[in-house]
Symmetry: C2
Subunit: 307 residues, 2 copies
Amino acid sequence: MKTFAVTVLGSGAAIPLLHRNPSAQLINIHEKLYLMDCAEGTQLQLRKNRVRFQRINHIFISHLHGDHYYGLFGLITTLHLLGRTNELYLFAHAKLKDIIDKQLEASNTVLRYPLKFVAIDPDKHEVILENEFVTVESFPLNHNFPVNGYLFREKRSKPNIKKDFLEQKSISHEDLQRIKNGEDYTDDQGEIYSNDEITVAAPPPRSYAYCSDTAYHEPLIPVVRDVDLLYHEATFMDDKAQDAADKYHSTARQAAMIASKANVKKLMIGHYSARYKTLMPMLEEAQEVFKETMLADDGKVILIPNS
Amino acid sequence: MKTFAVTVLGSGAAIPLLHRNPSAQLINIHEKLYLMDCAEGTQLQLRKNRVRFQRINHIFISHLHGDHYYGLFGLITTLHLLGRTNELYLFAHAKLKDIIDKQLEASNTVLRYPLKFVAIDPDKHEVILENEFVTVESFPLNHNFPVNGYLFREKRSKPNIKKDFLEQKSISHEDLQRIKNGEDYTDDQGEIYSNDEITVAAPPPRSYAYCSDTAYHEPLIPVVRDVDLLYHEATFMDDKAQDAADKYHSTARQAAMIASKANVKKLMIGHYSARYKTLMPMLEEAQEVFKETMLADDGKVILIPNS
């Protein structure tokens, strides 16, 4: 099975705690690493989780509140100091570029590697990255501020050719590719094997959606429908539903309602307000609505299996 | 004894390590807290050392390399989120103001407290702050970049009136102040007590100098002469003296030479390159030249006693 995994590097909200960093996650899709948000301290969280910094080639920032990006400057600088030469792609609101440029200029730093900045349009739902393994979409959330969610969809793999067929026949590389692309196969004797007969469909592609920070927002439902894993913020519980509404954040119950209505497989909640000292009540509140809910926690790794 | 203490919050150089944060120190003078540099993660270091953030009213940044200031944005934001209303003074190179303003603007943040920015002239040695307890001077260091050191001098306290004299006489508040200001005292019978006879001089004022980052720089010697504690960077050892020179950093031996020539009481070295896995050789190198050397280490508290 090819890897599709999410490592939580920070599960807290804006006030940093000793046991809970602000937002950051590492997404591993087929051993390519994507960093999602980068709060202060993310470098150390990467170290704690033994991630080699230079394997990260893409960073996505959901929005320009500090608890989602204040660790970016340190990481950009460390990659430079450690001798990086590979391109680094940074997806974020356009205003971030100016801030980074100002800081590099203030420290007389010319990065040794190309930092490719891709400005995200906060009002659009669109594909922002596509490669051999994945497409990444950005889409608007509903905060008191421009915020994007991101959706990672694994590419559908080509079918696998059945083992017993491979063992019987000596098939050229070109023919293998043709079969994988859906063609039938004709052997030396002219016998035709239908593609269905000699291949097994690859497992369905997996998907992950990241939604932080947002109020309860029903337009999200069609966007994240049927994903394997939905991360949805749950800054508050029902007891602070008014605070949640006022601050354009969600309660645990609201996150679960989105998960339920969107028919996702699993929900992970996080971005907990520092006021909540224990999180079991929060989990229980969400599970009342959507049973397949789990809590984000720093260092937690969620493997998304093939179904 | 009134407190004069330095708490090391970060003792490493630019590459952050799990056990050693980049530069930050907390200086406590008569229970007023001054933050010196503010690398990424300083908020958590303050938490680990159980410092109440809001007690800090003055922050000094030595220079605009990230390992000395990337934690500032998070701290400024946290103070805001925690409801600060008191003024916060920030002393730094003028370019920092623009960076902070850009970030606050990008997050639509209007701080609830006045952030009083004081631009430091990197070429001048001058007093930048004076209050009831302390004067603070900034002075140029010799890096490949504008960098300031800072020097904290405790104000000389007024003399103490001898206990037995206080017990014998009933002295008015006004007379007490006069005696503390150096006047003689005449009692109801007209007997004159000379000021020398009835007072004990307060202990000599204490001082602390912070010098990071800098090459070996003899013009520092008169600036830090006779201080009680000198912090001087020691990024390298003799084995990398050429690297130190090329990068405008110091070796442990060079830090000790400055300490010795300036006749300071104690030297603390820090800002160690991540290449050094054990620091005893570095300490030994410095102690060959200046015996009263100690190593900075995250969480270490140095009390400066009255002599």
